[in-house]
């Protein structure tokens, strides 16, 4: 078997970005959650918000650190493995990526330190502002990264000269057709993901009869939020789907495994797509519902993959199943929230053991849904890097051999497994320790990573820094 540098480069990109995306999926949501807790603590003066905020800040710090380290790898992937893509698209996408770097760097240096270590050193309102700014920063990072990604999906505002893309209109480039939907859908997905993590941690405490007050507050608060966000997310997903139908119909045909163009198409619940024969096996479908869902009209026409030459088809099975995983998880989440309302109305929300157990089990669901959604949209974009304009096969660095990429892929594989399992282990330990222990003032600073100057300001914890100068 010969090693294909294109395929291996894609697998390597999948590997490094899939791990990396898990961190923003949690840090974006938890940064906002921390800002809310800080705000509540400031307004109500209640001690419990303070304890909870301190607890989540510690977990946030570990995940943010891992996000930074795995994030450094990302921009270099464009150069090492996708140099043709970089050369062709740099004029358009590079400032978007650079703005992401500058913004993240700016916020990291300016506000993260205050949030992590400045509790005793700055007034409470300033700590709240720092939390707000960090939350805003994670959202701004998402903004720029998703603007870049969306432009690759629905490119506009460019002109092509000598096979390279040049910017014509920056407003169009940034606010390209799929961007608003992708941004909303992704950010809400990150919030929901964090929500289920918080819910799971709280349920873990309640089941073990520890930190009961904290656990109840987290369960109640989070379920209110999820009651709004989960149905809202399903609505946003529908809108995003309509947008995909308009701008990337071939992707949608792959997601739905539609081979023939037609009206009154069925909604396929399950099937085994057979790409070689361009047909489906073992189909379970509901008549007409496909047209209704996709076009909001029972007689609506939905294009099938056979409308395009086969060399422009994305893989069908992967987006088809990934999409069903995502939607299935969405429905599971909805069911859990419906159950929570039934329990809440019967005043049994914190007493029903089976429900708490379900909440615990549901805590990784958001991550799986995020990965599934991302696989759906990125595999569905194939065989293009810039949709309809630049092929993935023409994007890879021409100098790479299969063996080169295999070697680097193994390197990333081993290092990421070690790093992420260690990080996960430390976060799990923080969760087991619980909010009370971490709430007592600022824990001693154990490492330099998120460590920032504010900690060295005169304080009882660290008086030595300033005094050492005399000697």
């Amino acid at each position: 078997m010969s090693l294909d540098p294109v395929l291996l480069s894609r697998l390597q990109f999948v590997w490094v970005i899939a791990w990396h995306i898990l961190l923003p999926a949690f840090t974006v949501g938890s940064a906002s959650y921390i800002a809310v807790l800080e705000g509540l603590s400031l307004v109500t003066g209640r001690e419990i918000y303070f304890r909870l905020s301190s607890f989540w800040i510690r977990i946030f710090a570990v995940s943010f650190g891992m996000g930074v380290v795995s994030g450094i790898v990302m921009p270099f992937q464009f150069g090492t493995n996708w140099s043709r893509f970089s050369d062709a698209t740099a004029n358009v996408i590079s400032p978007l990526l650079a703005y992401e770097g500058l913004t993240a760097f700016f916020l990291e240096s300016a506000f993260l330190g205050v949030l992590l270590f400045g509790r005793k050193l700055v007034p409470r309102w300033a700590h709240f502002i720092a939390a707000l700014m960090v939350a805003a920063g994670t959202l701004l990072s998402s903004f720029w990264i998703l603007a870049t990604n969306s432009w690759m999906q629905t490119p506009v505002g460019y002109e092509i000269l000598d096979g390279r893309f040049f910017p014509k209109d920056w407003t169009q480039i940034v606010f390209n057709p799929s961007f608003p939907y992708r941004l909303a859908h992704t950010v809400v997905a990150f919030y929901v993901t964090t929500g289920f993590v918080v819910l799971g941690v709280a349920a873990y405490y309640l089941r073990r009869r520890r930190f009961l007050e904290e656990g109840r507050l987290m369960v109640s608060m989070t379920l209110w939020l999820l009651t709004i966000l989960v149905p809202g997310q399903i609505l946003l997903g529908d809108l995003h789907g309509l947008n995909t139908l308009e701008y990337q119909p071939a992707k949608l045909a792959a997601i739905e495994a539609h081979w023939q163009t037609g009206s009154r198409v069925p909604l396929i619940l399950f099937a085994i797509p057979d790409e070689a024969r361009a047909t489906n096996r073992d189909v379970l479908e509901i008549p007409v519902l496909g047209s209704l869902v996709l076009t909001h009209d029972p007689n609506g026409t939905v294009r099938g993959l056979k409308d395009w030459p086969a060399d422009q088809w994305p893989p069908v099975a992967i987006p088809f199943f990934a999409f069903r995983v995502m939607v299935g998880i969405g429905l599971l989440m909805l069911a859990l929230i419906a159950a929570s309302w039934w329990l809440r109305l019967h005043d049994r929300l914190f007493a029903a053991g089976w429900f708490l157990r379900c909440c615990e089990l549901a805590s990784p669901l958001g991550f799986i849904a995020v990965l599934a959604g991302w696989v759906t949209t990125e595999v569905g974009r194939q065989p293009w890097t810039v949709y309809g304009l630049m092929r993935t096969a023409a994007s890879v660095s021409p100098s790479l051999t299969g063996a080169d990429v295999l070697a680097s892929f193994i390197g990333y594989g081993v290092v990421y497994l070690v790093m992420f399992s260690a990080g996960l282990f430390f976060m799990a330990r923080l969760v087991r320790q619980g909010p009370a222990e971490t709430g007592e003032g600022e824990a001693p600073i154990e490492s330099g990573r998120p460590d920032r100057p504010v900690r060295a300001l005169p304080s009882e914890a660290e008086p030595e820094v300033e005094s050492g100068r005399a000697s």
């Binding site: 140099s83 703005y99 990291e108 021409p398 990333y412 990573r449």
Partner: protein
């Protein structure tokens, strides 16, 4: 394409040139501290050595991202040719930096495996440095280019010259790290830092001398740049200043001055940096593409410049403040419990 009034290329050359140099100096000294960490006598010394860079190393490392993305944005052709050409050094550098970075965090959370994380920190620092030195050597040697793409093999960057610059950078960062430790420590540990600083200094001077002879022999255009009249007159201050600085640095490593070794090391780096810039000017993909040929479109450079001119000064002011707050000697009682 549209006609523009301002040429953004020199502005971006200065910004990127500054960013790369900032990275080399600042992550350079904390990587150097990481290398020296492996030679530190005993646990207490190791704690102090690591403490001395704990608050600032991550800020320094972030400049690597700004450098990479900045090259991509301002001179994308150089990015698209150089980065794949140094595929393995970049890979090794990134993985080493990952290990080194998490070692900071995990060494204190995972006392049972402290030796493992100690090694991760020291070897991670050394390997990342060596890999950066290889990138530098490969860059000076130039790349095989076909059209707008690198056309050589992924192992071409490993040559005797690039291996030599890799080793040279170990001594260079070691010298910066030793200078930093002289500044931040006292007593026996400071003497230890001076002693290792002297060894690194000898390595650096040998490296500067060898590279100064090797590069003009390797590339005729570099020999012409330096040794033809009147260039030789205009450029002679560079080697002369280097010699004077070398003398000053050696003296300050041997007497009791606390700040001078660090400043001297940084100035030696500046002169070496200027020397390389003179050799290669105006190329950004050496011997193939000039800064102007590799630049992104004026619209791209302008769009990014707006935000950069706003954000960069704030980042720099804040960084300066953070160094100011952390000024003074590190002490054993600080941090890490």
């Amino acid at each position: 394409m549209t006609q523009t009034v301002i040429d953004f290329v020199p502005i971006w050359m200065l910004i990127l040139g500054f960013g790369v140099f900032y990275y080399v100096l600042f992550d350079g000294f904390d990587l150097g501290v990481g290398i020296l960490y492996g030679f530190a006598p005993g646990l207490e010394a190791r704690n102090l050595v690591m403490n001395s860079i704990a608050p600032i190393w991550d800020g320094n490392e972030t400049w690597l991202v700004l450098g990479g993305v900045g090259l991509f944005a301002a001179f994308p052709l150089a990015f698209a040719i150089i980065i794949p050409a140094v595929y393995f050094p970049i890979l090794v550098m990134l993985l080493a930096l990952v290990f080194r970075g998490v070692a900071f965090e995990f060494r204190y959370r995972d006392v049972a495996h402290m030796t493992f994380w100690d090694h991760a920190f020291c070897y991670g620092s050394a390997i990342a440095t060596f890999a950066q030195g290889i990138v530098l050597g490969a860059f000076i040697q130039g790349f095989e280019v076909d059209g707008r793409q690198f056309s050589g093999g992924s192992l071409d960057c490993f040559t005797p010259f690039s291996i030599f610059t890799g080793v040279a950078l170990l001594f260079g960062y070691g010298l910066l790290g030793a200078g930093w430790l002289v500044l931040k420590t006292q007593g026996a540990l400071q003497d230890w830092a001076r002693r290792h600083g002297r060894w690194c200094f000898i390595g650096v001077i040998v490296a500067i001398a060898v590279v100064s002879v090797w590069t003009p022999l390797m590339r005729a255009e570099i020999a012409r740049r330096w040794f033809t009249w009147p260039n030789i007159a205009f450029l002679s201050p560079v080697p002369i200043l280097t010699l004077l600085l070398a003398y000053w640095e050696w003296r300050s490593l041997n007497n009791r001055s606390e700040v001078a070794p660090f400043i001297g090391g940084m100035c030696l780096f500046l002169l070496a940096y200027i020397g390389i810039a003179i050799s290669l000017w105006p190329m950004i993909v050496p011997y193939r593409f000039t800064l102007w040929e590799a630049a992104s479109s004026p619209s791209t450079q302008a769009f990014l410049l707006v935000g950069t001119l706003f954000l960069l000064p704030i980042i720099l002011m804040y960084t300066g403040w953070s160094y100011w707050v952390f000024r003074g000697k590190v002490r054993a009682e600080l941090g890490y419990h």
